[in-house]
Symmetry: C2
Subunit: 212 residues, 2 copies
DNA sequence: AGAACTTGCAACACGGATGACGCAACTTCG
DNA sequence: CGAAGTTGCGTCATCCGTGTTGCAAGTTCT
């Protein structure tokens, strides 16, 4: 992807990031916003946006690609394969939430953006299913729920939690996982989920800088 | 609101409904679709659409208003105040799902469309909260979850369930309520929710014709 | 300092969507 | 049947967003 173009100058690269962030800010509020509004929000001339992104389409795809990298990094950083399912679920949730809060629009477009994006998304999906498998084996997940439905509910809850900006990602994740597993009904027999006040420093995706 | 215009002729009224349904069909797939595409899907000339709806904006608002009426009717038909919370919750869910499946786009626009729409939505929201209050009092809802969060999770699940067109609304509602209350984790102490195979003929909103 | 790069500005071309008319043919309804 | 209402079609005007280009001024990097 874009291998022929040589690296941008430092200031140009900063401009690109500024534009991407502004685009996310603007488009999340109004998906039909014009390039001009995005440029204005970025404090940049409209033509500059067009210099960096050939078309509106390529801008959106670039956003998706950038967000997807953050997404994958967030999942990686949680090391879902190397921890007990419950812990892994919480870690992944917290990390993903952190990304989703800032890149909601770019991530909500689904894998309809590009090939690479689709690949990463389906890969993460597979990992999610695997995690749920382990969770099921460990008795954390009920056996009589279809994995597909479980994943969809999980995604839906993440989407919802990301909307409410109240509270730290860790707290949101705690409430989310609790709701996912126990629902909002009376959890009769179970002890309260040990996710109420977690302290271990979760590997943060924002601190880990990927290829850049 | 548009009280000065006298009633349309029967065929014109049919045209309006046809356009609204086509618009829902088209816009749910592509929110940026043009008026022409909508007209084509409705089997109508573009100018006719413009004759009935002054602007694109008014078309969308009309859709929201129509969908909102169906929505309110669906809630009404379930009589949430006159049944045990659990039953009411199921009935409301099934009825609302039936509407949401067909009017997903028009309903997803939130109450940002018009004053009347906003009023009905907040009214329904209040009813939802009241239902949850009763459910809580009846021991069907846990005490330690914020009502706001519970409602948001409920809405999110409805949104998600409406996306998957697989199965009858009743089945979807059953699974939805089950998930809402018990989550996807092991429900240790509780007997399986009695919502697995419900038979009582739920009052259907589509059979009840509101002001028209 | 000097070459290479980047940006803002102004202007232009272009396409598509929107919205408004008038008119002839058709349908509804009294 | 006949008046009123409705629709399709062609046409026109207009606006808005997109995408491009050239040039002068500023910035980065060596």
């Amino acid at each position: 992807m874009s291998g022929t173009t040589r690296a941008l100058r430092s200031d140009a690269e900063r401009t690109v990031r500024t534009i991407l962030e502004a685009a996310e800010r603007v488009l999340s509020r109004n998906p039909a916003a014009s390039m001009e509004q995005i440029a204005e929000a970025a404090g940049v001339a409209r033509t500059t946006v067009h210099r960096r992104f050939a078309s509106r389409e390529s801008l959106v795809e670039a956003m998706a690609e950038w967000a997807t990298r953050q997404f994958a990094a967030a999942v990686d950083a949680a090391r879902p394969e190397q921890a007990p399912p419950l812990v892994a679920l919480y870690q992944v949730t917290a990390n993903v939430l952190r990304v989703k809060i800032d890149w909601g629009f770019a991530m909500s477009r689904g894998p309809s953006a590009g090939a690479e994006v689709a690949r990463v998304h389906s890969e993460v999906e597979a990992r999610c299913d695997r995690l749920f498998q382990q969770a099921r084996a460990a008795g954390v997940l009920r056996e009589d729920v279809e994995p597909e439905w479980a994943r969809r509910v999980y995604y839906a809850l993440i989407h919802e939690a990301a909307q409410s900006r109240d509270g730290e990602p860790e707290a949101l994740a705690g409430r989310l996982v609790d709701t996912l597993l126990r629902g909002v009904g009376p959890g009769a027999g179970l002890p309260s989920t040990p996710l109420a006040a977690p302290s271990p420093p979760a590997a943060s995706p924002t601190s880990a800088s990927p290829s850049e």
